[in-house]
């Protein structure tokens, strides 16, 4: 019985050490969020060292080149981005803040789980255990005024959607008639470009309506930087959406 209690006690210490030796803040994050990783190397072979580096890899979701670009041993100027910051209050605690998409130079769809550990300048100086972190998926959130694509120039085809089911205005939400879309273009001074254009919206069903424009072609102008638009019921022009807008980018 005494031996059993002793074993349980030792296991408890072990578990307590694991719990204190690594953490991520926030605990849940997406590939585009900044996350701070904290390693406590007390009691490990890295204790007392001041140059500690992050070694990381994509553990799930990646098909090739799944190591972080900074995974180079021994550490050098090429691994500067992976060097961790030593805590002033506890020299055995090290932190690093990364944004996974930037750190791994991978897209969010290629990162479902990452593995991390802390190491010295060279493997011979020691390393911590591996820690695996789930990456939360970026969630597609439907909106009442979805645009496709989400970024465009005034010389691109853009599809403007109305999702009635998400409208807060109940008249709009339950309108049964089809819609037309009233669109106004603006230049960089906020001045209107050409006349307001009205286009019929396609009723896709399930409360989804859309129209497509290619601003420079639709308005026959090359100085458009933004548009404002609203969906209007063809049966009752008092049933309208809010005014939506789309700012164009300078893409190459």
């Amino acid at each position: 019985m005494k031996k059993l209690i002793y074993i349980i006690f030792l296991l408890g210490i072990g578990l307590e050490s694991f719990a204190q030796s690594f953490s991520s803040d926030p605990a849940s994050f997406t590939a585009e969020d900044a996350v701070t990783l904290t390693f406590d190397v007390t009691g490990t072979s890295l204790a007392g060292k001041s140059d500690i580096y992050l070694w990381s890899w994509i553990a799930e979701g990646c098909s090739s080149s799944c190591d972080a670009p900074t995974n180079i041993n021994p550490a050098s100027s090429a691994t500067a981005d992976a060097k961790m910051t030593q805590s002033e209050s506890n020299p055995n605690v090290f932190t690093i803040t990364i944004i996974p998409v930037d750190f791994f130079d991978k897209s969010p769809s290629e990162m479902k789980k990452i593995g991390v550990l802390a190491k010295g300048t060279d493997w011979s100086e020691g390393q911590t255990a591996d820690y695996l972190l789930d990456i939360e998926p970026l969630t597609f959130v439907p909106t009442v005024d979805r645009k496709f694509p989400t970024k465009a120039t005034a010389n691109d085809v853009i599809t403007l959607y109305l999702d009635q089911t998400l409208a807060e205005n109940l008249d709009l939400k339950y309108e049964l008639a089809d819609f037309e879309v009233s669109i106004t273009a603006f230049d960089s001074d906020g001045g209107q470009v050409g006349d307001t254009v009205t286009k019929d919206a396609v009723n896709e069903g399930d409360g989804i309506h859309y129209t497509r424009i290619l601003p420079q072609f639709t308005f026959n102008a090359d100085n458009i930087v933004s548009i404002k638009y609203r969906f209007i019921s063809k049966d009752n022009n008092e049933v309208q959406s809010d005014e939506f807008s789309y700012e164009f980018l300078d893409l190459k």
Partner: protein, 165 residues
Amino acid sequence: MKNLLIIVIGLALIISCTPDEFPPLGDRPDRVQQLTGAWKVTQVTQTDNDAVRKGFPFFAQQQDITSAFNFTDLEIVLNVDNSFAVDAGTAPNVIGMTAGQWETDDAEYPSEVIFKNGGQQMEIGIGSFASIGEGILTLKVIRYEDKGDALQPVITYEYKLKKQN
């Protein structure tokens, strides 16, 4: 009798293992010559590369916009003398020029068609030669966002064209 059988089987195996003769590979296709001709758009798809990177649902990643602006009106003629002509009909002229000179970035392994007229120039990527034997060509136009240290694709247009002659 048993020995005779072994000999017959052995001979049969030797004869059947004679290597086949492979037909000659033929000359490397002249890709630039394959590009010449009159091409008419049959399909246009638009991809939101950001949505693809984020793993969003397919309907948020890609759309067929062929019928949006009568893109099937658009015809591009690439002549042997390296002149070109574009007849957009009622469609937007995605080349931005109606005539001029055309060339490729590489004569043997072209990956881009370059359209020029005076100071104007437009490069369009060649998406695929896979079906060129059937008179189908895919061209690609990609829009990039300048992220400071790199250009990131934001929108990709794929134009499928059918040879007219």
